[in-house]
Symmetry: C2
Subunit: 392 residues, 2 copies
């Protein structure tokens, strides 16, 4: 009942569970369930044993749909929360799990959801819960070739979304309408979903991650656009900053600096490089130009089933329960450029999704990087050169 | 520094904190922060004292933006997670909170976020954390007149979105493209954002809450569309099921039954009615027709800053950490029709946002309820009559 791909993933999971001394996993995070079984949805769970058996619990209405999509050994439909709790108890009993440890996703579960999954009617009292975030993140960090192809497809859709958003940028249009252009274009280009679109203009470009509002663009506003389509379950991450008019010399200089820092960091992406080295490359160029106080958040994060996932840099990792990653192996996929440069009255950010190649970066998001965009003809000679350079 | 509206809310909050024996609240859920201060965003927090003082912590990049939007007494910008932790410690000290209880949102905070907020470097060791979900939900449940006007505005935008989605329904179009039509129309009609759009067609209408996929609509498919725009910070909830062609007699009968159950339940909405009575009205009509096994999830939930909030029915409430609500007071806003009727090969669902009026319901979402829609002329005589009836 499992494809070779999912069989391999579950065997890898079993091995890691043994290493970590985990007798079972009780997963509810859709991205983790999707990776291991081929289907991930809210209000559902997957119990995984150390022997590699997988049992699913889903709403009774969803049993047929999940059966067609997922790879598993057992499935049960529940009617409500009480039924869900009882079905978990049933699986613990079925697998003979009376004592030991069960891995739960502490970076995903709310306090109240955790209370439900570890309710005395669900979990045997001698089964001790522990965090398994890191186990799943480690597995998902290095991408299989087919996963990279899916992220590449998502990156193409992200480029389409960015092109539509940039084409919508003009005075009088709201931030929300710019987001609409991107989102609609991405859905028409093959995205089944997208993570939240960020569009912020004028003074709002100084916000670390500004969700769209109904504020209308003014002539000369900087506009920061960040989109993340989901295509066949995989994401990409692209951010561009453009000007709705003519940027000031100061804005152009800040943009040029930021792009230089981002491109210099991307140039260092290759198997064996450290996250801290990449972060330092990006930060140092900005700091040396006097913008040390204008950075917020880590410049690098992983991209995959989620648009922001492991590897996460050490500082950020604390918040997400992740450990500091080792030097990056080949076929990790990372976004470079997330820290932004926030000067006070306005900010700039440019971000791209890259595969960590053996010999260098493979940049998947390719939409031209230029503060001033020529409407409808975004691929000018200058930006084409930039693209070729980034592609290697 | 506080508007009369926010001053009143914070005084109400203070009073409830005293009743519950809470010395402080440490809020991170955007909807709760928005209600109390006028601004809510991720990666930020609000500390509220029993005396009604409010201190905010936000990313250093966002200080100016938050200052323009929010009502508060103190604000601090932090650079990263460590800075956030230290700023929390600073406020505990500033307010002289060395011991006592601090309310945290257990239905929002993940295990790891909770760990961060209660880190020994953030929280004094003699300050005991406890769940404050219920305190905030109780406050937000009864809407002020200005809040109802905002939900009414959101409902109008929801109607616009539904009209665009239904107009996009035809064989060959993907579920994702139908969602695009709704979302784009809502953004152009004034929504700054929206909660996840659900679009499911054909066999996928049997899923309790089906997110869109790239599956193409077939002639004769049922299509379930559920949208939730955010306008000026407030939401509305509408669901319609339509047919991409001619429904079967069985589908039409199930739809007519479901609509009858929903309308009968809405007819009972008035101040003093119990959530359980409403739930039973809806369920009993479906059960009496032999569909007892085809219902999933509670038929009623609150609508406000979130599209799904308190009041929540008892069963669901357990999962969300809510208590069983008392008879509904006037000016609570609820969505009626969320349980659906899932027959196996397909399902139907119709859902509307209603104000609990003193003398009866005021239905805010008005898009015509009909399985077969006449393209571009949705308001037929029959559906107009239905609307008038629902409006009272």
């Amino acid at each position: 009942m499992k494809s070779p791909v999912h069989q391999r993933r579950i065997e890898n999971c079993s091995r890691r569970m043994k290493e970590h001394g985990l007798d079972a996993l009780l997963l509810t995070k859709p991205s983790n369930m999707f990776y291991l079984t081929g289907d991930g949805r809210l209000c559902a769970y997957a119990m995984v044993t150390q022997d590699g058996e997988i049992a699913l619990g889903v709403p009774s209405t969803d049993v047929e749909d999940v059966t067609a999509l997922a790879h598993f050994d057992h499935i049960v439909g529940f009617e409500d929360e009480v039924g869900m709790i009882h079905s978990i108890a049933h699986y613990f009993e079925h697998f003979g799990l009376k004592a030991g440890t069960v891995g739960l996703e502490y970076t995903f579960l709310t306090q109240s959801m955790l209370g439900m999954l570890t309710h005395p009617h669900a979990k045997p009292k001698d089964v001790v819960p522990t965090d398994c975030t890191h186990l799943l993140s480690e597995m998902r960090m290095v991408k299989e070739p087919a996963e990279i192809e899916r992220i590449r497809a998502a990156a193409k859709v992200a480029d389409v979304g960015m092109k539509a958003a940039v084409a919508a940028v003009k005075p009088g249009v709201t931030e929300s309408e710019v987001a609409a252009a991107a989102e609609s274009a991405m859905r028409h280009a093959g995205a089944e979903e997208f993570w939240r679109t960020y569009v912020a203009a004028g003074p709002r470009t100084n916000i670390a991650h500004g969700l769209p509002t109904t504020r209308k663009l003014h002539k000369g506003d900087l506009v920061m656009i960040d989109v993340h389509p989901i295509v066949n379950g995989y994401s990409a991450d692209i951010c561009r900053t453009v000007c709705a008019g003519k940027p000031t010399a100061e804005q152009q200089a800040a943009y040029d600096l930021y792009l230089r820092a981002q491109q210099a960091t991307i140039a260092k992406v290759r198997a064996g490089v450290g996250m801290v080295e990449l972060e330092r490359t990006m930060h140092d160029i900005l700091k040396d130009a006097g913008h040390g106080k204008h950075i917020f958040g880590p410049p690098i994060h992983g991209v995959g089933i989620e648009f922001e996932e492991a590897p996460l840099p050490p500082g950020h990792a604390f918040f997400h329960g992740e450990k500091e990653p080792p030097p990056l192996p080949a076929n990790v996929v990372i976004s470079v450029g997330n820290c932004g440069l926030y000067t006070g009255p306005w900010g700039v950010r440019v971000e791209d999704t890259n595969v960590v190649g053996v010999d260098g970066p493979i940049t998947l998001t390719r939409y031209p990087r230029a503060l001033t965009q020529v409407a409808r003809k975004p691929a000018t000679t200058k930006t084409r050169r930039t693209r070729r350079k980034t592609r290697r």
